[in-house]
């Protein structure tokens, strides 16, 4: 360490460490987190699960989306300690060994990505959207709140709007989700 660099006297020791258990992509993982650790940082920095991405860290981009206990969920606005015992499925976990999930195949087929950074979140979100539509959840653009949900282009666009893509791959993402919805 260089001359004059001011160092801490106390050394390492986070007072508020706590141990939690998560099931991540089918694997039970025990880990120690700071009570301040977000679910996203727990995955990325403590478990080296880097499929969920950090795009904004404030719930404004959707890159960190995973399926949490079956529903799409941001991991940046979630404290890990509050999700002790939860099940997390990332985009990596959606793919089984060599076989990609059909939503992932559709993203490849329609080039629904460029840089790939928002993509795992888009994929998890798309899986969630398909499930929500099956359950009959309406959206902001649903004309008749009491009718069955039909995943039109506008419905898909609205439902996928929590996942920003700065490369502008939205037309490809739309085509991919549409294909996956029909599958």
């Amino acid at each position: 360490m260089g001359e004059g660099v001011r160092r801490a006297a106390s050394g390492y020791g986070v007072r508020m460490d706590t141990t939690i258990e998560l099931t991540v992509d089918g694997h039970r993982r025990q880990l120690t987190v700071d009570t301040r650790t977000t679910l996203l940082d727990a995955l990325r920095e403590r478990l080296a699960v880097t499929s969920p991405k950090k795009g904004c860290d404030h719930g404004q981009c959707g890159s960190c989306t995973v399926l949490l206990d079956g529903r799409r969920h941001l991991t940046c606005l979630a404290l890990a300690v509050a999700f002790d015992g939860s099940e997390v499925v990332t985009a990596e976990g959606l793919a089984a060994d060599d076989a990609l999930h059909h939503v992932q195949e559709a993203f490849l087929e329609h080039d629904g990505y460029q840089c790939g950074y928002c993509t795992p979140g888009q994929v998890c979100s798309a899986v969630g959207v398909l499930d929500e539509a099956k359950q009959g959840h309406p959206s902001h653009v649903t004309e008749d709140l009491e009718a069955d949900v039909e995943l039109t282009d506008d419905e898909i666009r609205e439902r996928m709007s929590g996942n920003l893509c700065r490369c502008g791959a939205y037309p490809g993402i739309l085509a991919a989700v549409k294909e996956a919805a029909g599958a």
Binding site: V14, R15, M16, T18, D34, T35, R36, T38, D57, H58, G59, G62, T65, R71, R72, H73, L74, C76, L77, A78, L79, V81, A82, S125, G128, V129, E132, Q135, G136, H137, P138, S139, H140, T142, L145, E146, R157, E158, R159, S161, G162, N163, L164
Partner: protein, 333 residues
Amino acid sequence: MRELDYVRASDVEEAVALVSGDPDARYLGGGTNLVDHLKLGIARPARLVDVGRLGLDGVEEQDGPDGRVLHVGANVRNSDLAAHPVVRSAFPVLSRALLSGASGQLRHQASTGGNLLQRTRCVYFQDVTTPCNKREPGSGCSAVGGYGRQDAVLGASEHCVATHPSDMAVAMAALDAVVVVRGRQGERRVPVRELHRLPGDRPDLDTTLEHGDLVTGVELPFTDAARCSTYLKVRDRASYAFALVSVAAALELDGDVVRDVRIAWGGVAHKPWRATAAEEALTGRAVDEDAVRAAVDAELAAARTTDQTAYKLPMLRGATTRTLLRLAGKDPS
């Protein structure tokens, strides 16, 4: 983010006791606003009391003191509330308001209680390196004379021009919802219109709640107007954006004439703004473009705008007119 003690409360009594007794303690619900604030340094609690597993998850029809209500547990997620069949049919304005807020992911996370209590998105409030009377009383209001496109045009003070960001709360204001609160003195009912307050000289206080008060639920009275209700949100982006202005409206007609009308505005004030002067002006009259515009202007007589917020007045006129004409079954084009 300061170091934190985390406690998961097992019941409402314990939760209230833990937070009431500790000025540095805060409730943690869905986390979508509080975790954001922890990272930004806006909130620096020493202890979080997790109220996410208190069983406040039900949506049930009940008989209330003033008639039949839909009781919504504070922990019901925004997505589930929006999709609930009774909400969709009896309170469409609430369903629409919820669905226009945030994103699919965030609606799965955000709770009913937390949505009501979310804090302003004023860019200066969000940035601890700038003065803000709401965040740090007495430090000054950076929004006055600064970036002001989102600022209030009604009920603001020299100390604060912030707007309340919730869509859901605007719908609830139109529905005359009642908030069920548990505090140290037991349970009480607070009309949602009395929950949020205007900034005055205490912009640090968003609501009339005391420290330690826990919102346990919301009651929605069934009315004929509520069945004929909708929400219009005006924003820059088509989705995933806070309102520039929004209109929640419910309408009951007697033939051509207004018997009951409720109008609430979002994006215009420190609280969801119930446009009572506009409602009075419309009651007993036929709904047409001129009548609505005149009613809106009656409400806006007290508006104060800047160069940056002047647009909100014609926007409110347009959005309110369109909404009421639609509800009245008149093709507004």
